[in-house]
């Protein structure tokens, strides 16, 4: 979500004359789009702004912060940053910069930030983004969240779910695909809740996917459309059926499970249980058997017992995820669970993280191994870290190293033969 937001911020800044630099030390306007889902990124914000404020002694520098900011952090940021605004206030950023040092009344009054209003979010979507890549793009389809998972503060930072008008989304995706973008990702906190805030007035998520699929069929350009993240409680067989029917709808599903234990899921207020998740996975395996499955997991959530953790391990064995973003639980101010005892020790969380990663690796490797000697299409995204190979992603988002240095292939989908597999990656030769 922050990549998409930052593309829009960049667009606004460039329109008023700012020029992008990759060199932080020469910039005279520096900003952060924060993420409050976990504590670590917020800690980094504090480190960064203290560094920037030291630089201010030597040169002219204006700093700003936006994105997901909890009220507690916002009060502190007001003293540290020159400008602070919500993303729905983005259109006012040029005026704020003109009045450098003067924050908006909304930013000054912390009492109105307890639950940000979202009605101006449409102004954000009106801003044409300056895409950071020529072949990968992110398209926001909704803002906010109505789920109120107990470990998460997003509903307090981004407000209620608001769906972006479907025609805008379809037009933006079609425009990107026509320009040759190969990987387009629909973004939202709960993408498959799309339209539910405007029942009867807006199309549903599967209908949106179908409309994009139809648009994709009419285009001559090949592209893969992803979405992240869906919520299991709103995931329907219809969504999976639609994905199975259109080539441009990528066969990769990111479906956050968070815990394999029903008690933990209740305590997290996830509004789905393991059986519901199991039924979705069964539908995926039946209708799009080639799909890769990614998930999000929290280990060490408050009162998670060893037995509860073992249920997550068993869920990993059952669902055979290709990738899991495993987070060690950290209480977030503003989330309901912040007031509950964080009673799993850090060492235990670390241990569970490592044990779960081992299970994940085993299944991911087995899947990757099954691809060896197969020809697959790879979206070439750049060079690998050492600059010795090209790097890309399969349609299922498995990282693939390609034995080539032909940079003209970057941004293209190319056929390649898989020659070896590792835990979370593949090696391929151009076909």
């Amino acid at each position: 979500m922050n990549i998409s937001d930052s593309e829009r911020v960049r667009s606004v800044l460039e329109r008023i004359g700012y020029v992008w630099t990759d060199n932080e030390e020469e910039a005279n306007l520096l900003g952060i789009l924060a993420c409050s889902v976990r504590q670590k990124p917020i800690d980094k914000v504090y480190n960064k702004i203290s560094q920037w404020n030291r630089w201010k002694n030597k040169r002219n520098l204006v700093t700003f912060i936006s994105g997901c900011i909890l009220p507690t952090d916002k009060e502190r940021f007001l003293k540290l940053f020159d400008l602070i605004f919500s993303m729905s206030e983005l259109s006012q950023l040029p005026a704020m910069i003109r009045d450098y040092g003067v924050v908006t009344p909304g930013a000054l009054d912390s009492s109105v930030t307890a639950m940000p209003a979202n009605e101006n979010i449409f102004q954000l979507w009106d801003v044409k983004p300056n895409y950071q890549s020529d072949f990968e793009a992110y398209v926001p389809i909704q803002n906010g969240c109505d789920k109120f998972c107990t470990y998460c503060a997003v509903p307090y930072t981004r407000g209620r779910e608001v769906s972006r008008p479907s025609q805008e989304i379809i037009d933006e995706v079609a425009h990107l695909a026509a320009r040759g973008y190969k990987s387009i990702t629909l973004l939202g906190q709960n993408v498959n809740s799309y339209g539910l805030d405007k029942k009867g007035e807006e199309i549903t998520f599967p209908e949106l996917l179908r409309a994009i699929g139809e648009a994709g069929n009419k285009l001559q350009q090949k592209f893969w459309l992803y979405f992240t993240s869906p919520h299991p409680s709103d995931m329907t067989r219809e969504v999976i059926e639609v994905i199975s029917q259109y080539d441009c709808l990528a066969k990769q599903i990111h479906l956050p499970l968070q815990s394999g234990d029903d008690r933990m899921l209740i305590k997290m207020k996830r509004s789905h249980d393991l059986q519901k998740y199991r039924e979705i996975v069964q539908d995926i395996r039946q209708l799009i058997p080639q799909a890769t499955l990614f998930t999000d997991i929290i280990v060490g959530f408050t009162s998670e017992t060893e037995e509860a953790f073992q249920n997550t391990v068993e869920a990993f064995q059952e669902f055979k995820f290709n990738m899991a973003y495993i987070a060690k639980y950290s209480p977030r101010p503003g989330a309901a669970s912040y007031r509950w005892e964080d009673d799993v020790t850090n060492d235990e969380k670390k241990g569970r993280y490592q044990r779960l990663t081992l299970v994940l690796k085993r299944h991911a490797y087995r899947y990757n191994q099954s691809l060896v000697n197969k020809e697959m299409e790879i979206l070439v995204t750049g060079k690998d870290r050492k600059g010795q190979y090209l790097q890309g992603l399969t349609e299922g988002k498995i990282i693939t190293r390609i034995e080539s240095l032909d940079e003209s292939l970057i941004g293209k989908i190319v056929p390649a033969k898989i020659i070896s597999a590792a835990d979370f990656s593949l090696t391929a030769q151009l076909a």
Partner: protein, 221 residues
């Protein structure tokens, strides 16, 4: 003409009812606040960014909006809320959540509400909203004084389970009471309160043949 916007999230307290030493009901005029019985709201004091979620205690059609607050020792907001008085300003956002009675099951099913402590709040809202509802409310507390405003419920529908005195309708925990009960197959269960009670009741209901489709839960802590 100057462009300004009135913030509609601030409400003036119209009444505070102290039910016990640590539990009280805060009431504000409902104005245009629309909600479904079972939902919660987010409440904070004016000029303070700390907020908490509270289930709505009043009915959908009442002219007032109420929450039941249990003071948390060493808590931040609830001790401050305990001090509010008529005329004070509160910040309210919402409604939120999906806990509630499924409309299609409202008249076709029996409804069993199982609450611990202040977890009774959403059920009072449901009972106030649907006076004709075929329900039973099982309320688990420590002592009889925690049977908050039990005169709101007809005695044949309300069971107070007290674990630390003999003055309730049943001496013991809700799980002990439920263990002895038989329920019709078309019963829908709603659980609200602490997570351990919810886990125990879920297990018990499972053993009685009621799966997750028959149970909705709202965890408080």
């Amino acid at each position: 003409m100057m462009d300004f916007k009135i913030d509609t999230n601030f409400y003036t307290v119209s009444q505070v009812r102290h039910l016990t030493e640590h539990a009280f009901v805060v009431q504000v005029p409902r104005r245009n606040f629309k909600f479904t019985a079972g939902q919660h709201l987010v409440l904070g004091m004016k000029d303070d960014y700390h907020t908490r979620e509270y289930s709505i205690y009043s009915g959908e059609n009442e002219e007032v909006l109420e929450v039941l607050v249990k003071e948390v020792e060493e808590g931040y907001l609830s001790p401050r809320l305990k001090q509010v008085k008529e005329g004070d300003s509160l910040e309210i956002h919402g409604p939120f959540g999906h806990f509630g009675i499924e409309e299609k099951k409202r008249d076709t099913h029996k409804h069993v509400f199982i609450a611990s402590g202040s977890g009774i709040a959403p059920f009072r809202s449901m009972v106030k909203t649907y006076p004709e509802l075929d329900y039973q409310l099982i309320h688990g507390v420590r002592t009889i004084d925690e049977g908050y405003e039990r005169e709101n419920y007809s005695t044949d529908r309300y069971v107070l389970c007290t674990s630390r005195d003999d003055n309730g309708d049943f001496k013991g925990r809700v799980t002990a009471y439920l263990h002895e009960q038989e329920f019709d197959k078309n019963t829908q269960f709603y659980l609200c309160g602490n997570s351990q009670m919810i886990f125990d009741v879920l297990e018990l209901l499972k053993n009685k043949g009621f799966g997750r489709d028959s149970v909705s839960a709202e965890v408080y802590f």
